[in-house]
Subunit: 442 residues, 2 copies
């Protein structure tokens, strides 16, 4: 049997009104999208018709507050696990990836909810495992400041170990449910975890049978040294922000190169950089579409967004027309992004307001504004030149931007043989080309 | 305008295969129901067509294990919040009540998930607020033993205060989303909780707008003195196990009598005893139906169930044909049930195995086995004689038992004018006759 040609993977990054910070003000965008289930149902169905691999939902366990926050559409939205559970009932194929922090959760709850979602969806759940670096999150969970980087990662590693241990509580065939003999499960096929570590003590077992995928897919987005090591050891999909082919190639080969020491093959981890896409029938039309959003950005809002991207800095005290101030290197996991943006501001001699406006759409992700052919050319280059296994697609506004991608770019990728026309399997793992997880205790 | 006649409320208590401990072995029951979403979707739609007020899902954050547990269908099932979120997408009217413990959770997560479910469902969420009394649950969250009764309730009270405070973070009209001016929310309409108490320190605000019901409906089931006081102060629906009209009347008038001191009217809390129902076209057929389940009960399984109901006792060491042993009064919140069952065993001179078999179906709830008219007569008597505002309906097996209730009993109640033929409103509160919650900070 000949090997099927390698094809790229696509994720639809859903942020209520879209990725552009001013999208909610655009006439085509429903401003209340964050809490409108019909909106999300439409997005999911658009993405599924286009054969996207996954929906991807970011998260924070705190609301943005303050004068500038009140001018951004970031304070009211569905909790992702409840949202994706609801979407599982109105979709059939697409993967459902939710961000959940390891910093302010209990592994038993997290293991259980993802296993439940995996059963609800017939094997389509994925967990974007993150750590929390914002004081606002810490303050909702009994702390004054966020947990430091090293402890956060130590907790995340142990958290992952407990969750995957709980997912393996039951052998795939543990539940015999034999009406005649009265045996519901085979006690020999149950593993009680009895975990006791630095951060957690969890007995188990989970009260959910092993899920259709064995384990939901593990997704990560850390790019620090510690983050890359954790990803190489445990992640199956990595979402990353890369702004040039060379940087993306370096990240790709670095991360793939770390897999062997954990006994893993390069194919067992899919690297999907974020890509911000604005498509038009001509380049001028695409540019014009983008500028309609840019015109809606208030300078203070762009700067506030910039402060968040740099690591939760409050930049409101600095002059809008002045330069990006020198900022202390933080512990918040944003160092690489901080370096990137500082270089960009220097290179292009941008004021604080100009830099804020510049990142209002793509937020530091690779940005493509052009025709379907131009955009497909770029995606193909990254895919074929060792920079990406696929892309997490960020669009300026929703639902319009996703509809555009589905209508213009997906068919172009399909014509080139770069993207599927039918789902390959029934689970997210099967569609991503990942193996079903083996049970570590069987 | 004349007042509409008072009508009773109905909840459908969903336990995967049904309430009877041996239901899963019956040929009419899908043994894998606990993790079959299609099964739950069917149940929800049957209940909604019959105009039930709510679906009600119990919960435990631990799996039952051990030799006898392996003969019961209690170790694998959906996590309730993910399940009810999925069901919200395939139903339109019915309330969605999930049990979530206050003992091993964080109030921010709980407030957020229920608010999210309330938005997803258009105002149909309810929270059955419980405390955890099983060591198996404690051991999944870093503890060796469960939290004692007094501390558990102190934590539950504070948990409720924090959750409702978070639900009131935003005024109903806080989110202006004014595209022209760029104001997304009005900062003057945001309340930051800044809670600091004995058990929790939570800053807020919630990152979900105030939900359609203002607050999801609060449900409780405690029957101890402390439990009743908490219910009188905070609950809007109380689920309770009462086995005689006289006991139910005493409980009803006691609980309603406690409301005034909290400034509440009797109508602001609905008391819904559980009722175990087996219906047949004749009494003999109903009895025959019930006996088909009884015949499938293994003595050891009935006794294990009994041990759990008495407060997580392991009774496996006692002779099956001997009497119910004297058990120490536990701290586990099961005292009233313990007293009831001890009296029953004495009165009817039942062996341990006989007592286990006796409770295998109704589990200490009021049990009705008969024709539609006989059963409706009993429900009507309780409803009209000050014992109940409605009932939480427990059926031996699913989906059959719920279909039977919908086909035979609901029409009989409707003919008598005791039950609705159309939903009165669009939210759970409107259907239950409860007012939308006022925001304590506005």
């Amino acid at each position: 049997m000949s090997q099927a040609p390698r094809q790229l993977k696509l994720g639809a990054f859903l942020m209520a009104t879209g990725h552009h910070v001013a999208a909610w003000r655009h006439p085509d965008v429903p401003a209340n999208a964050g809490l409108d289930f019909k909106h999300y149902k439409h997005l999911a169905q658009v993405a599924e018709r286009a054969r996207f691999d996954t929906l991807f939902v970011a998260d924070s366990v705190a609301a943005a507050t303050g004068d500038i926050a009140s001018r951004m559409a970031r304070s009211d939205h569905f909790e992702p696990l409840t949202l994706l559970s609801a979407l599982s009932a109105v979709t059939e194929h697409i993967g459902l990836i939710s961000t959940v922090t390891t910093s302010y959760n209990e592994p038993y709850h997290v293991a259980r909810k993802f296993a439940s979602l995996d059963h609800l969806s017939g094997g389509r759940a994925g967990w974007n495992l993150v750590t929390s670096d914002a004081a606002a999150e810490a303050q909702n969970f009994g702390r004054d400041e966020h947990i430091g980087h090293a402890e956060r990662y130590s907790r995340a590693r142990e958290f992952h170990r407990v969750v995957t241990g709980l997912w393996d509580s039951w052998a795939d065939d543990a539940f015999t449910r034999d009406k005649a003999s009265g045996q519901y499960y085979d006690p020999a096929k149950l593993h009680v975890l009895n975990h006791s570590g630095d951060h957690f003590k969890v007995k188990g077992p989970l009260n959910v049978a092993r899920s259709p995928q064995g384990r939901p897919v593990i997704v990560q987005a850390g790019s620090s040294e510690t983050g890359r090591e954790l990803a190489a050891q445990t992640a199956e999909v990595v979402f990353t922000a890369q702004t040039s082919l060379a940087n993306a190639q370096a990240f790709y080969s670095d991360l793939k190169g770390r897999l062997a020491k954990f006994g893993r093959t390069p194919d067992s981890l899919k690297i999907m950089p974020g890509v911000f896409v604005v498509v038009g029938e001509t380049e001028a039309l695409a540019r014009q579409k983008f500028e309609a959003f840019q015109a809606l950005v208030e300078p203070e809002v762009g700067v506030a967004l910039l402060g968040r991207m740099l690591g939760n800095f409050d930049l409101s005290g600095y002059p809008l027309n002045g330069p990006l101030p020198e900022l202390p290197l933080t512990d918040s996991g944003q160092q690489s992004r901080q370096k990137l943006l500082t270089e960009l501001a220097g290179r292009e001699n941008l004021s604080l307001a100009e830099l804020g406006r510049k990142i209002a759409g793509g937020r530091g992700h690779y940005s493509l504004i052009g025709t379907p052919v131009q955009i497909a050319d770029q995606l193909q280059e990254w895919f074929e030149q060792g920079a990406a296994d696929g892309f997490n697609v960020l669009v300026p506004h929703l639902p319009g931007g996703l509809e555009d991608f589905a209508d213009y770019i997906v068919p172009e990728l399909q014509r080139r043989g770069l993207f599927r026309t039918e789902y390959e399997g029934s689970t997210l793992r099967e569609n991503l080309g990942l193996e079903k997880s083996a049970n570590q205790f069987v």
